[in-house]
Assembly symmetry: C2
C-alpha cells in the first residue's frame, strides 16, 4: 500500500486509478491508504459543477479541462452520479471523455457512482479528491450529474461552486427551488445561443438581488460550451472567486468549517450504520411485533435495541 | 402520573392538556406516562392535513371538526408548526380557535411547535396523538403549517393524508415539487371560488395520471372552507379512503410499517443526539485542529470521538 501511495504521489496514472478503486471499495485498505495520503493533501483547489441533467455540464467541464491545461496546471475530474450503479474507470463515458486527453498525463478523469447508499458517495468524494490532490493535481473539478440533495451537498463542498442552468422560461426559478441559489459562487447560462438566455440571466440576477447584500456577488456567465464560447469568462469568474477567498483568510476558514462538517458526517455515518444494523433482523422484528401488540412503547423498543 | 393518565383516559380536558405538556417536555415523566398510556392506544384514526401556508388549512380543519362533531364522534386536533417557537394551549391562536368549540367536551385543539430541534417535533407528534387516542378521541386531525420536509413527514404518517392547494397557475406543480403528490391520499383545491380552480384540479389529475396506475387514486375535491362548501365531499373522500384501507388489511400493514419506521426513528434520533453531543466542545475542536493540520484523517478523528 505504501508503494501504491508513493506511485500516486509521483503522479502515476495507473496507480491513481488503482488507489481510487481501493478508496471507493472502502474498508481497512482504504483507511490505511487515506491515512498515509493525508499529509500530502490540501494543495488542490476544488471546483464543484452542478445543474440539472442535460444542462451541458460534461461538455463545460471538458472545455474547462482544456483551458486549464493550456495554462500548464494538472487537473483531475470526478464525475459523480448518485443515480448510476456504475463506478470506476471502465465505463464507456469515461473512455469517450478521456480520448481527448488520452495522451495527456496532466489530466485524470474518473466517474464515481453509488456503491450501496448515497451517503457513501458523499463521503467517498472528498476521499477521492484527496487521491487526486496527493497526486499533484492543482485543480480538481467535481461534476455532479443531477440536482438531488446529495449532488448539491457534494458540489457545495468545493472551494468554488459553479451552477449551470440553460436558457428558457423558469429555469432560473427551478434552480432557486433546488436550493442552487444559496450554494452558487458563479452561475453559468450554458447553451446561451438558444432563445431566452438574456431573460434567464436577468431572472438569476434579480433573484440574487432579492437575496440581499452579499460579500461575494455570484457573477452570471453566458457560455456555449459545445463551441467553447464563454469558457475564458467562466474561468476568469472562477479564479476571481478563488482570489476573493484567498484574499483575507476566507479559504482557510471555509476549509476548516468543511473539515468540521466532514468529521461530524463521519461520526453520524458511523452511528447511522450502527442504527441500520440494529434495525433489521429477528430481534428488531420481534420488538416491533411487541410494539404493535402494545406491549412496549417505540421508545422502550429502541432502548432495548440500543442496550444490546 | 398514574392518576393523570387515568384522568386522561376518562377524557378530562385539563388532564389531556397537562399530559400533552408533560409529553412535549420529554424526559423521564414523559416516558413513564407514554408507557402507561400505550396499551390504550391504537383506536383513533388519524388524518394529516398539509399544504402551503395561507392555503386555508386551519379553516378547513375547523369545518371538518364541526362536521365530525355533527356525527357524534370526539375529535382532537394537533396543529404542528415547526417554524414557531410557541407550543401548548396558551397561545392566542388556540384560544381563538377553541372559542367555537369552547362548550364542547368532544373537541380538543392543541398547537405544537419546535422545542429545540425539528426531529423532536416529528417524534413528539405521534406521542401527542397517543394522548388524544387514549383520551378516547375517535379522530385526530394533524394539521401541519408549512410544506417543509418535517411537515410532510408528519402529515404522511397519518392514516389518511389530505393535501391542500389553492387555485392559480402553477400551484399544482408546486405541490408536486414539494413531494406532496406522492403522499396525498386526497387533494383539496381550497378557495375554489377563485379563478383557476378547474385548471388546478385538471393539473393535479393529469399529474396523477402520469404517476401511473395506483391501487388508490387520490380524489380531488373542491372546497370553499370559509363558506363550508365542499366539506361534506371532503369528508366523504376521507372516509372512503379509510374504508379502502380497512377493506383488506391495508390499514394494519400501514400501521405496522409506521411502527417499524417509528422505532427506527427513535434509534436514529438517540444515536444522532449522541453524535451531536460528541461533535461539540474542546475534545472535538482539538481533533478538528489536528485534522486541519493534516496530523489525523477525518476518519481517525471520528473514530477517536466515538472511542471515548
Amino acid at each position: 500500500m505504501t508503494t501504491l501511495v508513493d506511485q500516486v504521489r509521483s503522479g502515476d496514472r495507473r496507480a491513481i486509478a488503482r488507489l481510487l478503486t481501493v478508496v471507493e471499495t472502502g474498508g481497512q485498505d482504504a483507511a490505511a491508504a487515506l491515512a498515509s495520503l493525508y499529509p500530502y493533501t490540501g494543495r488542490a483547489y476544488t471546483v464543484g459543477i452542478t445543474g440539472a441533467p442535460g444542462s451541458g455540464k460534461s461538455t463545460l467541464t471538458d472545455k474547462l479541462v482544456a483551458h486549464i491545461r493550456r495554462g500548464g496546471d494538472d487537473v483531475g475530474v470526478l464525475a459523480v452520479d448518485p443515480s448510476s450503479p456504475f463506478s470506476g474507470g471502465a465505463i464507456l463515458g469515461d473512455r469517450v471523455r478521456m480520448q481527448d486527453h488520452a495522451s495527456d498525463d496532466g489530466v485524470f478523469i474518473r466517474s464515481m457512482a453509488t456503491r450501496g447508499h448515497l451517503g457513501g458517495l458523499a463521503r467517498a468524494t472528498p476521499q477521492a479528491v484527496r487521491v487526486l490532490d496527493a497526486a499533484g493535481m492543482a485543480w480538481v473539478l467535481i461534476e455532479t450529474v443531477g440536482v438531488g440533495q446529495v449532488e448539491v451537498e457534494i458540489a457545495e463542498r468545493a472551494d468554488t461552486t459553479v451552477v449551470v442552468v440553460n436558457p428558457g422560461w423558469g429555469d432560473a426559478v427551478q434552480a432557486a427551488k433546488a436550493g442552487l441559489l444559496e450554494i452558487a459562487d458563479c452561475f453559468v447560462v450554458n447553451k446561451a445561443d438558444r432563445p431566452g438566455s438574456a431573460e434567464t440571466r436577468r431572472d438569476l440576477e434579480s433573484m440574487l438581488e432579492l437575496a440581499g447584500a452579499l460579500d461575494w456577488r455570484p457573477p452570471v456567465v453566458e457560455t456555449v460550451a459545445t463551441e467553447g464560447a464563454g469558457i475564458d469568462e467562466l474561468w476568469e469568474a472562477v479564479t476571481e472567486h478563488r482570489a476573493f477567498l484567498e484574499s483575507d483568510g476566507r479559504l482557510v476558514t471555509r476549509r476548516e468549517e468543511r473539515t468540521r462538517d466532514e468529521v461530524r458526517a463521519v461520526v453520524e455515518d458511523t452511528l447511522r450504520a450502527e442504527a441500520s444494523v440494529r434495525c433489521v433482523g429477528e430481534a428488531f422484528d420481534a420488538l416491533v411485533a411487541r410494539v404493535v401488540a402494545r406491549e412496549l412503547t417505540p421508545e422502550a423498543a429502541a432502548a432495548a435495541l440500543l442496550a444490546d
